[in-house]
């Protein structure tokens, strides 16, 4: 088995004059729940569509479950459950007809599980797709993806626009499945708190580029807000990376740093500065700061 369920090398897509995806090198470890974060329009959906052969003119290498995309797409799709950003099911089908149709294409379809989950989601088989609410459609999409018992789930904003109750239902079905099957999940979202609870890896997209990719623990734990009293030292040679420096009213400085670990406080004392406070950030703050840093870094370049 490959170390990476998804691997892209220099994935680029240029539909017009500018790049929509610019040399994206993704590494999604097998068995990980990988949160693909980024603001709206950052290229998350385009990356997913490129991986699944839904875009023309894509360059770079794409390997999914050890198969090359788009050359071996049927093999990839036989082992992958996909929930698109916008559901594109056949509106005149009933729920029952949609399940029957979808199951015909998937050899691993678990009809017993699908029936049980349909009842749990309170989806009536004779309801037409076009009459389903957004929440019911979301549930049906996740049901279709999970009932094929995939090794990899690619979910593009699966809970976007859903109410909290439906969102919880959808996410718990997903978590149960992952627990049971040890499947790899690649989930894109701009709802940072939602991913914080379920993901163990994070990739951060901005303006068509992958600006960061790391384990969730490192993403959260390694970023800190430091309050420095008195004159701040020169950051060159620090064992951490300074993402941003701010001078709040009063004295001292605030630094936003990454790659922070315990024991680094001593660096300040060794450089003649006083570290007053080390503050943790929640994932959303980390996300915002990382984006700010990435944008500043691009402008500087």
């Amino acid at each position: 088995m490959s170390d990476f369920a998804i691997r892209t090398d220099g994935l680029s897509w240029r539909p017009g004059t500018s790049f929509a995806l610019d040399r994206v090198d993704l590494r999604v470890p097998t068995g990980a729940v990988y949160g693909f974060l980024g603001p709206n329009g950052s290229g998350k959906s385009s990356t997913i569509r490129a991986m699944l052969g839904l875009l023309g003119g894509v360059t770079g290498g794409i390997s999914i479950l050890g198969h090359q995309s788009p050359q071996e797409l049927p093999r990839i799709l036989a082992r992958t459950g996909y929930v698109p950003e916008r559901p594109h099911l056949y509106p005149h089908f009933t729920v029952g007809q949609m399940l029957e149709y979808h199951s015909a294409f998937h050899a691993g379809w678990d009809a017993t599980w699908a029936d049980a989950q349909r009842a749990r989601f309170a989806l009536t088989p004779d309801r037409e797709i076009k009459s389903l609410s957004k929440g019911e459609t979301g549930k049906l999409m996740i049901l279709l993806a999970l009932a094929q018992r995939p090794e990899l789930l690619i979910l593009d904003e699966p809970t976007d626009g859903l109410d909290p109750v439906v969102r919880r239902d959808v996410l718990s079905a997903l978590v149960e499945y992952v627990d049971e099957r040890k499947a790899t999940v690649f989930i894109s979202s701009h709802l940072v708190h939602e991913l914080e609870r379920i993901c163990d890896w994070v990739g951060l997209m901005d303006a068509g580029k992958l600006v960061a990719e790391m384990p969730m623990g490192r993403f959260k734990a390694g970023v800190r807000r430091l309050r420095i009293a008195g004159p701040a030292p020169v950051a060159d040679g620090a064992p951490f990376t300074v993402l941003a420096r701010e001078t709040p009213p009063g004295s001292g400085e605030e630094w936003l740093v990454r790659d922070w670990s315990d024991g680094m406080e001593s660096w300040f004392a060794a450089n003649g500065a006083t570290l007053r406070e080390v503050g943790a950030l929640d994932l959303e703050e980390v996300f915002v700061e990382m984006l700010r840093w990435a944008r500043f870094d691009r402008r500087s370049a």
Binding site: L52, G53, L54, R86, Y90, H92, F93, Q97, H102, F105
Partner: protein, 217 residues
Amino acid sequence: MNGRIFRVMLAAQARYVAPFLALGIMAAAAVPMLTVQGTDNTPPGSLDRAGHVLGQAAIAAPLFPIVALCLGCFIAVATWLPDIAGRWVYVLTLPIDRVRLAGYRLATGVVLILPVVLVLWLSSLLAVSLAGLTAPIVAAPGALALRFLLAAVLTFFVVSPVVLFSRRTWIALVSLVLVAIIFSVRLPGLPNLIDLLFLHEMSPLHPLAGQWRLFDV
């Protein structure tokens, strides 16, 4: 071929084409019967009846290719429309080779044309039995049904890729047709578009033209 995939695709497409199929079946039942309309007023086997039936056959003749053309067009549109409306996302993320998928779609389209052809053939047989004609009048219900099948399938196959054109290609195509119409009107020396589409022997729609009579001498 995977039988289950074919069955679910056929059932799904049947749902979409059902209204067109119903119209096609009604037309296929009605047009051959039009050929024998009013024959009761003439004695069986008489020259009067023969003349009447031949006249009716000539009137009904253009309706056969029109029904075949409409059927092929509507089934082609209804076959691909759900995928176009869904921007191909669902269908292209099914684990099936895209060429095979197109093959299934085309095969199910052809199967859906068959009930209409069957009704046309049965209706033609009924019309022939009601006509009560003798030599030298000949009837060709089987040949007519076969020709209808080929014409409808041909139209379906010609229209299918046209349906799949992108919006940009559609705009280019419509512009081209408009230019061709304007030129053919302004320059009387040029053949008109209808002649080119249906009568030119190189046109894929040429088989729709010609004689389509159920009865002839």
